[in-house]
């Protein structure tokens, strides 16, 4: 139930796969309407069915492990900020859900069956305002409110049961009649797998529709959810173009609808839930101030992913709300780390622009200084390095830089 799961399903492709796939892709899925998305659970929900109780017990153990993981960012202010957002867009279960922030530089978030959610720091970097983040969190809440995990478990169980019985019946019937039905059994197995993914896609569409409704009710502009996907598509395309590959298209084996169709559906849903005359607030100022303490860490993680195309696109997207010293510095870092011919000059230029902003991080002054010295402008370079030392006297490389400045 994560936003974007990447599981290798190549192993599932059997011989008849391509044929069956070409038959099924033509079927378009109708959009799930936000108005139809009614929460299926109330406040303080506890499971009563045997299978769901078992699932929850397993999840309690998982939560104990996850909540004690050293990958989590435990900054109380940040965590309570996220908890507040889930409290606002969590519908009837707002008070029951827990949220954990994992230090992983990837765009993902997930909801577990017992109502705790894990979001990755890479997601926080990509969100331009609180409404976008609330949209993703509302999507995850949607999974919980619509009881997707137990529904999909039951669906899987029912289909695997039917398949087992069908395979047995086909085998025995075939044996009695002297025919070999093995090929049909394989095809049926593929059909079972295909319908599992289809069910999962339908649930993601439900969560999107539910999410749009939840954030609109909480007073966030619902269109922001579609913007999230627009940004993601752009980033994936930029990253793929840089690596001279095409963006991965949606396939039959996707557990999630393709970002393109999600974006289109979300636009329609957003228009549906928007109330004319109501004032919506995207909470950008609050988002920026809450994220300020970790912003540099988020950018640092991203540029070190060695994905210049994606990083560059991301910086440009964030800069749509205005360039600043931090973004310019990391733009320079992308060039410097890519290190192709001419990249040092590009990086030097970015550092030079970065230090003109009041919010330039100390490291921008460091690299600005080093770039200047490399260009032969050692006087100016040393001055810049002096500024770096002034801002960060305890930096690990401070003694070395001090020696350079002389």
């Amino acid at each position: 139930m994560c936003m974007r799961c990447e599981i290798s399903r190549r192993s599932l492709l059997a011989g008849g796969g391509a044929l069956a796939a070409s038959m099924a892709t033509g079927i378009a899925q109708a959009r799930t309407r936000p108005a139809d998305m009614v929460p299926l659970i109330g406040p303080g929900f506890k499971p009563t069915d045997e299978d769901e109780k078992g699932l929850w017990q397993l999840m309690d153990r998982a939560e104990e492990e996850i909540s004690g993981s050293n990958l989590l960012i435990k900054d109380p202010e940040l965590v309570s900020y996220l908890q507040d957002i889930i409290g606002r867009v969590g519908g009837p279960a707002a008070k029951d859900m827990r949220i954990y922030l994992a230090h992983i530089p990837d765009f993902n978030a997930m909801m577990f069956p017992s109502g705790f959610s894990v979001i990755f720091t890479g997601l926080l970097l990509r969100m331009r305002n609180e409404a976008q983040l609330a949209g993703v969190i509302a999507h995850e809440s949607g999974h919980f409110l619509r009881r997707h995990m137990i529904r999909s478990w039951r669906d899987t169980r029912r289909k695997s049961d039917l398949f087992a019985i069908g395979a047995m019946a086909a085998g025995m019937g075939g044996a009695a009649g002297g025919v070999y039905l093995g090929d049909y059994v394989q095809l049926a197995q593929l059909g079972t797998i295909l319908s599992l993914f289809a069910y999962s896609r339908a649930m993601e569409a439900e969560a999107d529709a539910m999410g749009a409704r939840l954030i609109a009710e909480a007073g966030y502009p619902p269109m922001e959810m579609a913007t999230v996907w627009e940004q993601l598509i752009g980033e994936e395309e930029a990253s793929a173009r840089y690596r001279r590959k095409r963006r991965r298209r949606g396939t039959l084996f996707d557990t999630h609808p393709s970002p393109t169709s999600r974006m289109a559906d979300l636009r329609l849903s957003a228009a549906e839930v928007t109330v004319a005359g109501r004032a919506y607030d995207n909470g950008r100022a609050r988002y920026l101030s809450k994220l300020a303490p970790i912003r540099q860490m988020l950018l640092e993680d991203q540029v070190k992913l060695n994905d210049p195309g994606g990083s560059q696109y991301l910086l440009n997207t964030l800069a749509q709300d205005g360039w600043n010293g931090m973004l310019r510095y990391y733009e320079g870092e992308v060039w410097r780390l890519r290190n192709r011919a001419g990249d040092d000059a590009r990086a030097a230029q970015s550092y030079a622009v970065a230090v003109a902003y009041p919010d330039a991080p100390a490291e921008a002054w460091r690299w600005h200084g080093l770039s200047l010295i490399k260009e032969g402008r050692s006087g100016e370079g040393k001055a810049a390095l002096g500024r770096y030392l002034q801002m960060k006297p305890g930096a690990p490389d401070a003694p070395f830089i001090r020696q350079m400045v002389g």
């Binding site: 004690g68 049961d161 087992a164």
Partner: protein, 259 residues
């Protein structure tokens, strides 16, 4: 010759009725704890699943609770027979002066070490550097420090899983075997168990003994001790930790004495 006979007998029993398999490894210097010792049992990780018709394992909360209680009880009486004093932890924060995080860290470390043991001792990826050394793994200083502060001599880590065939699964098994008579033999797995136990010497930090137990059968209705019942749990505990053998050096020394 005796070994070959045993293998043949085992193969035959597997084909006919399923099997109970356990294989233990010990440090070459290992002597099973006996007499006056203090054993700390880390929170036993027990799961009981229902095996659906299609072969999926569905966790069951009440069965799991029941089985955990039974396993703990069975462990207590088994250890009492050896003369040891036992504390079975129910929570991570139970020990004075030891934080829950420290216990969690030790459990995670053991999880990683246990996986290594499973890979290199049981899955066939044997390491040349560990050849002839019995069981040569350690949890390091953390375990020693825990022992020093709490006064325990050993820590036992235990994992047990029991998959119990549902009615539908059993019916499918019956059909699969019945099919043999009309030329469509499709036996499928029924109730099965998997468990392992690992004994760590808290004075040295070393994993001194490790055992893996597996049971399972393709014949419908065959069970190997349902751990939801006290008898079944006692049987599993006995198979898992009741028959600890000493390490190689100790065995050889004992053999010499006898001669």
């Amino acid at each position: 010759m005796r070994k070959l006979g045993l293998t043949l007998a085992l193969t035959a029993s597997v084909a006919l009725s399923g099997c109970v398999q356990s294989r233990q490894y010990a440090d070459v210097q290992f002597t099973p704890p006996q007499g006056d010792y203090r054993l700390l049992v880390m929170r036993p990780d027990v799961t009981v699943n229902s095996l659906t018709t299609g072969g999926m394992s569905e966790p069951r909360a009440e069965w799991t609770e029941q089985a955990r209680g039974n396993i703990v009880q069975a462990l207590r009486s088994e250890q009492a027979g050896r003369g040891g004093k036992v504390l079975v932890m129910a929570r991570r924060n139970e020990l004075p002066n030891v934080s829950a995080e420290e216990i969690a860290d030790l459990e995670r470390l053991h999880y990683a070490v246990g996986n290594s043991i499973a890979l290199h001792k049981y899955s066939g990826a044997a390491l040349p550097s560990k050849r002839g050394k019995g069981l040569d793994y350690t949890l390091g200083e953390g375990a020693v420090s825990l022992g020093r502060r709490t006064g325990y001599d050993y820590a036992l880590f235990l994992y047990a899983q029991d998959n119990i065939a549902s009615t539908g699964r059993t019916a499918l098994q019956v059909l699969g075997v019945a099919g043999c008579f009309i030329g469509f033999c499709a036996p499928s797995g029924g109730s099965n168990q998997f468990a392992y136990a690992s004994l760590v010497d808290l004075r040295t930090g070393e994993v001194v003994w490790f055992n893996v137990l597996q049971t399972g059968s393709q014949l419908p209705g065959v069970k190997f001790g349902d751990i939801r019942t006290p008898q079944g749990a006692a049987q599993m505990v006995d198979r898992l930790v009741g028959r600890m053998k000493p390490g190689r050096d100790v065995r050889q020394a004992q053999a010499k004495e006898k001669r």
